[in-house]
Symmetry: C2
Subunit: 397 residues, 2 copies
């Protein structure tokens, strides 16, 4: 195995459960153990390191030009409960591999190379992408109840405030991550060049019919809310496939009322979620759904918007640069959106030009002990990251 | 208002709630109060009365021929929680009206006329049609846990055993009841001549797909169990309408797993219920459902049968007799199945020739305070019952 794969397995394996999965939650003992290992590797490579006040690992390899903005690489060190080796850790170890390659080849960069291993990117009571949001100043530590939640992790509003950095000094942010989906693996493509992070749009949808006796109410006289909701789900799913092959539509939660086997459902509540890069596509899809709902007989629908996180595009110049690097390397690659959120979101939100590189996830499996990326793919994406850093340093930043 | 409508409103109104609905559960104070009122009416009409050991009200108007089998009329005195005036009580007061008409007209029947006001027909921890099942000997009072449940109503296995009657002495059982469905009301028909009580067939149906990330898993690669289940419900509902206009199909309960808005459902559990008079129709429908399920992509289905109560036909001679009476009266009528179960089920189960007469339910509403049958329909069905009893007594039994 390569040096990168060795480090990835060593650091990514910290927090292993008996079933082979990894539980290394933010602020946990395993989290800090993994961060300490990564910190030691950074120091061996000449980086100036620190653990910041909110538990993010930070390293700087000083460049030759003190005026130049930093090239920033990073991802997260924490996992979900029963997660895998690759999610997050690939990007942190991949960034360390870039520093190692520079040392191997005796290169000095003109720009500072900064590496972040973020804390608590995964969902928690502090909100997702906690560590990176602290760095860019997107966390309001004084929000009602938030100080109490911070205290559970031995953290505080003062520490959150102290973690903020001047992102005006950041020339770009690059994140190397597993896809967590199955597009690359299914198509047999080696690298994904991320175009942006898709939106997450959610609605609470209620179908209202008329509850009645399941034996005595003839089919022609029913107002069955579950039949109505089923028709809408089938129609919306077909429409999503038709509108765009990167539009995804999910009904993940449903409640059928009154919920007795001998009573016709009078009401069904469900969550409708859609994600896509292009707001025009999700707007069109929502219009279609409303129209389809209006055409379903014997059932009235109500829609309440609950989440509207619009998409975050990657920096166009970075997309082109990474795409060009893959072309030069002669590896199969595709420009594609990310269906999941990442630490790159807050960076882009605060105006840092952001780019992402995806490695294939075998079977699209993620947030699971069976998460796997082939060693050759691990190395290939890191090579793309390394070459992209060199090009950025050589004047393309 | 007619005498029958007066009694129906008086007795049926016992247990009235502030919202106008009626709660008169079996064994409750209101139940015994209503039974006492009905008993007094019976005694005024010359019936020999008793409250049997399990709370059924029983009256006998002796006939002139002690060898002749009894003509038995009845229905139930209890209601559901927040039920209406008519469900059950129509048949008991209708039977008393028959006795009153006999007295009005100075007629003596050759057969004994027996009237039952059954206890606890509605669902309870003792099982539906409790009172009538005790009378025909269908309750096993020593079943595990049953004595404890009986004790909650100050009842006992000995009382259940003592309630059993010799149904060999019953020439026929006639029950006058509201339809509880909307067939008569929608079609503007005055009387339903019941052909039988439909089956109740239930399956637990599980759709199995693959749970996955709702953002990163493209539509073409999903195995969404809820999309699969929705397709099956839509297809089965259409098929039910096509197969027979009296076949009903209901999915009343559903559980979506894991049930998170950002996770593709990997498993959906639902109850499928079908009811019809003809086993060939429900068998065919189930075959269709299995075949449709097999054709749904990206989802596997499992079917576990849970309830298989087959249909109970009414006695053919009684159906013809009642149908003939309606014809003679020149009122609009239709031969139709009952979608709900009744005290007539246990009677038929024990071999008593059974017939039923339905009055229209306005809007098909039942088990609800808004349950309503027009006074003229109340009287019309009772007239059919009276004339049927006369014909049976005049040699057609």
């Amino acid at each position: 195995m390569s040096r990168l794969n060795d480090l990835l397995q060593q650091a990514g394996g910290i927090g292993r459960n008996p079933d082979g999965s990894i539980t290394r939650l933010g602020f946990s003992e395993g989290y800090f153990q993994a961060a300490a290992l990564l910190r030691q590797k950074m120091e061996e490579l000449g980086l100036e390191t620190e653990m910041d006040p909110v538990g993010n690992l930070h390293g700087v390899l000083p460049g030759t030009d003190p005026e130049a903005k930093s090239i920033v690489l990073g991802s997260h060190i924490d996992t979900v409960i029963q997660g895998g080796v690759y999610d997050g850790m690939l990007g942190v170890t991949g960034a360390i591999e870039v520093a190692a390659r520079l040392k191997d080849e005796g290169r000095k960069l003109r720009h500072n190379l900064e590496i972040w291993g973020f804390n608590m990117e995964e969902s928690s009571i502090l909100g997702g992408t906690f560590g990176s949001r602290c760095v860019v100043g997107m966390v309001d530590p004084d929000a009602p109840g938030y100080p109490e939640r911070l205290a559970k992790f031995d953290c505080s509003p003062d520490k959150v405030r102290a973690a903020r950095r001047d992102t005006g000094r950041y020339g770009c942010y690059l994140e190397y991550h597993i896809e967590q989906g199955d597009k690359l693996d299914n198509a047999g493509i080696d690298v994904g060049v991320v175009s942006g992070i898709v939106s997450v749009i959610r609605y609470d949808v209620t179908a209202k019919g008329q509850s009645n006796h399941a034996g005595t109410t003839m089919m022609v006289n029913r107002r069955d809310a579950l039949v109505g909701m089923s028709k809408l789900i089938v129609a919306a799913e077909e429409d999503a496939r038709r509108l765009s092959d990167t539009l995804v539509f999910t009904v993940g939660k449903m409640q059928v009322l009154p919920g007795q086997e001998n009573v016709i459902p009078g009401e069904v509540k469900a969550t409708f979620e859609m994600r896509h890069m292009d707001k025009a596509v999700t707007d069109r899809f929502y219009d279609d759904i409303r129209q389809m709902a209006a055409g379903i007989p014997n059932c009235d629908f109500e829609f309440v918007p609950t989440v509207a996180k619009y998409s975050t595009p990657c920096d166009e110049r970075l997309v082109k640069l990474i795409d060009g690097v893959c072309g030069e390397m002669g590896i199969s690659h595709v420009v594609m959106p990310s269906g999941a959120g990442h630490d790159a979101n807050p960076m882009a939100h605060e105006g840092v030009p952001m780019g992402m590189i995806f490695a294939p996830s075998a079977g699209g499996i993620s947030h699971h002990g069976a998460e796997y990326t082939e060693p050759r793919h691990v190395d290939m994406g890191a090579e793309v990251l390394y070459r992209t850093v060199l090009k950025l340093d050589q004047g393309e930043l």
